[in-house]
Symmetry: C2
Subunit: 508 residues, 2 copies
């Protein structure tokens, strides 16, 4: 069990590691269940004169046109789809970005805004030959105001870089994702990223104070703000957060930072029923309040995947139907003392849960290595599922009390066809449902969809809790929208991007 | 120093009390500095056949047309303005509300949505003869889901009623306002209410999971959600939050509740400079993290107002240039032990601040009466300012490090004309600036405005941190908007209310 900075550094390495193997393991046959749009929109095709215009705006470092160099801009990292952009543009300032958009708007050229291209719903690559606008060269950290704990930075800053910068001043950017080493803060805002600590810090939206955005016609819309409270009319920035680049290209952010915790406590619990997991969650909330920084669950099949496909060993003598990984943060000015106090508090709390038979067993991390192992049990599930077979992945929100019923229902429906595994952010009503099969097939897909999405809609949940819609889930968007909501979404699209040149074929 | 429920009950009584005297003290001559719109819009005048139609929709309890009975619907509680509505409509369900809006839309009748009518910017009363639509009869609490800590209720529920309902189940609605006994949760959402605990819980926006809204044409827009994470396209509900009834009438809310703290610690600190107040704030954030639930400041003039106009006595032997009221919450399952621990932690922390000369003095509440007295010093400032003279009140955000410079600048500018008092939510960069004069005059007003708003704009602040725009600050809205932001706000207005029948003459 460790303190402060070394702890956080370890966690971030762990998080990164969980992405890499997954990358290479996802099979090209996963294309089976992605329907590319049938028809290219009536957009202009890029001509030599466009390339010259972009050269003039961006200089030679800002325009990529070599076929080989274009690959990472065209390809989805999961191997699901690859676009055929002939140009990727890399503006180095908001003025350059604005000039690029003005040109595209005038010429009716479709564009795909792109950050780290780490998304999971095929939202940041071209479907056809849309021009890619990647923000990676807009990577300046502009200011960290210690007095108001506000970080101002350009959109292309890597999340981990922003985090490291804040850490140096004793603060943290309240977002922790597997992709933090390569995703950009602009992409995080465009997708309203979630991650492991939403239960404490909220989604990224909650911590975005201001944005600068370039709209389809090249307008620089200055919605920046370094103050927390601003009730002067409509909060336009909220529309861009989570809009996946379909309303504008985010160029700058003001992010509310948080004090870095002095210590943390990490625990794995075992429960005999999902109801007892929920009971533990509620008691943890009451006991730890806003110090509760993660509450993740795994069913026994998710746990077993990691035990089967890694060298990790079980923490308990016997297996249990459900597990939870719980993290509690503490602040204070004496890390050692804070740590001792938190450890005592957490173990006392667990004793009470054991006495009342709410939990069946528990392990508390006593050092960094143990804490890492506990987190590993949660973070390596996706990687191990990919080792076990082909995986249909769903990321849905369902009101907590119905959450595991969804897993049970899908398991029943898929009996004899697939292994169905449930895990995820129970503290946020967000379940990751992995359906593992020997090989992808239309038969299984037809059993799964729209069944899962219908069930989620019935429970008033969300068909995409944190990953977004992209091109991937576009056809199911209506299941999470009721009445005129889609119609009003279209009105917003029309207001900001009347010619639909921003990220077409995505979201709406 | 007290625990749990009795403590919260006391605070809420205190909060209520601070509203009442203020009400009757605000002079009608304050109209001096409110410019009513010059011209009535081209809206239909209510006819007998309209009244009959509303009777048919709402029944006799739902239509108020008696001149005397209409007074509370027409009048601003501060006495600044009174409208001349001939009708106030009180729908009892969203269907009735929708039918009313359909009729008004068809007939081009302007309406003013109204909750508890407790706002401070003349936003919820008619300017001319707009029909008032008050939500007070839509006051059902629909559900409190303990598992996901979500309260679902109609817009007309009184905040304090919602809070009491949540308290019964060990939870709290994370919003605490002086007006809680009479404001409605729908009004709180429409104005994105702030209050005393934003430093911990965020503005109301942060805790609204879903909304049902009726738009200008009577469409019931179902944006409800009881899940925390939902990344399925544009987050339309955010537009309605803080739009002050100009885009739609909020009819139902899903609110994220929080666990009720088991104990609290309340402290008053004295500092020799404002920089030391900020230093104390930052150290408090590091030490208490998300347990810090309030951090308010007062300058010596604000403190003196309360000492001069109440029977309260100073806590310290001598006066100090600055004071802060700090509250820290704690969770746990043993209130007595939690309380002892928190008390020790807070006093140890204060000792360190005293040793380093960051604070000059401090008092820690040892019981409920003392805690109440400390809060009183903060909460009675507005009431005592009104006893001292006529008051020009400003509620602005300024980045923390420039915050008190604004007070100093205004004081300099008004030298010989007014006493300038600064206090407010320093934890949220939000200062309440009270300018006290013997009587209102154009001379003073011309010194104050646009000077204050210009200064705020220069610092990148907000001319309305929590109170909103209403009719009161409409002419200064542009100072908090840059470039095309106002233009895009107008596009939003056009999308949801093309005929501008919703709360005209307000905000935009």
């Amino acid at each position: 069990f460790l303190f402060g900075s070394s702890w956080l550094d370890t966690r971030s390495m762990l998080a990164r590691r969980s992405v890499r193997p997954f990358f290479s393991l996802l099979p090209s046959s996963s294309r089976l269940f992605f329907h590319t749009p049938k028809e290219r929109g009536q957009y202009a095709t890029v001509q030599d004169r466009d390339a010259s215009a972009f050269d003039a705006i961006l200089g030679r470092h800002g325009v990529i046109c070599d076929e080989h160099d274009l690959k990472p801009y065209n390809e989805d990292w999961q191997g699901i789809h690859a676009g055929h952009a002939k140009l990727a543009l890399l503006p180095a300032s908001v003025e350059e970005l604005s000039a690029v958009m003005k040109h595209c708007s005038t010429r009716n050229i479709a564009v795909v805004p792109q950050g780290g291209n780490t998304g999971l719903v095929v939202g940041s690559i071209p479907m056809f030959d849309e021009v890619v606008i990647n923000t990676k060269r807009m990577n300046k950290i502009i200011e960290l105001d210690s007095a108001s704990a506000t970080l101002t930075a350009e959109a292309g800053v890597i999340l981990e870089t922003a985090e490291a910068y804040a850490n140096e001043k004793g603060m943290r950017v309240p977002l922790d994702l597997g992709a933090k080493g390569s995703c950009t803060i602009g992409g995080n805002a465009a997708t309203n990223a979630g991650g492991l600590h939403v239960v404490k810090y909220g989604s990224f939206r909650s911590n975005i104070l201001g944005l600068e955005v370039v709209t389809a016609d090249g307008t620089i819309l200055d919605l920046t703000s370094t103050v927390k409270k601003d009730n002067t009319g409509y909060d336009l920035k909220q529309l861009f957060i989570g809009s996946e680049g379909t309303l504008g290209v985010i160029s700058k952010l003001n992010i509310a930072c948080w004090p870095k915790p002095s210590t943390k406590s990490v625990v794995m619990l075992a429960c005999s029923t999902f109801e007892k997991v929920l009971d533990t969650l509620n008691q943890s909330k009451i006991n730890f309040g806003s110090s509760l920084s993660a509450f993740e669950f795994l069913d026994v099949r998710a746990r077993q995947l990691v035990l089967d496909h890694t060298a990790e060993r079980d923490f308990f003598d016997q297996s249990h139907p459900f597990y939870a990984v719980v993290e509690v943060e503490s602040n204070g000015n004496n890390a050692e003392e804070d740590n001792r106090r938190l450890y005592d508090e957490h173990t006392n709390f667990l004793s009470l849960l054991l006495d009342s038979d709410t939990i069946a067993d528990a392990v508390v991390a006593n050092n960094e290595a143990e804490a890492r192992k506990i987190w590993s049990a949660r973070e390596r599930v996706a990687e191990c599922a990919a080792k076990a077979g082909k995986v249909y992945k769903y990321d849905v929100s369902v009101p907590t009390r119905h959450m595991y019923n969804l897993v049970v229902d899908v398991r029943k429906k898929l009996e004899g066809h697939a292994s169905v595994v449930g895990y995820g952010h129970v503290g946020d009503s967000n379940v990751h449902l992995n359906v593992i099969v020997p090989s992808f097939s239309d038969e299984v897909l037809n059993l799964l969809e729209p069944f899962i999405y219908d069930r989620v809609a019935q429970h008033g949940g969300s068909i995409s809790a944190e990953h977004g819609i992209g091109a991937w889930k576009k056809e199911y968007l209506h299941l999470s929208k009721r009445g005129m909501a889609l119609e009003y979404m279209r009105k917003m699209k029309a207001a900001f991007d009347p010619e639909c040149i921003l990220n077409p074929y995505k979201v709406i």
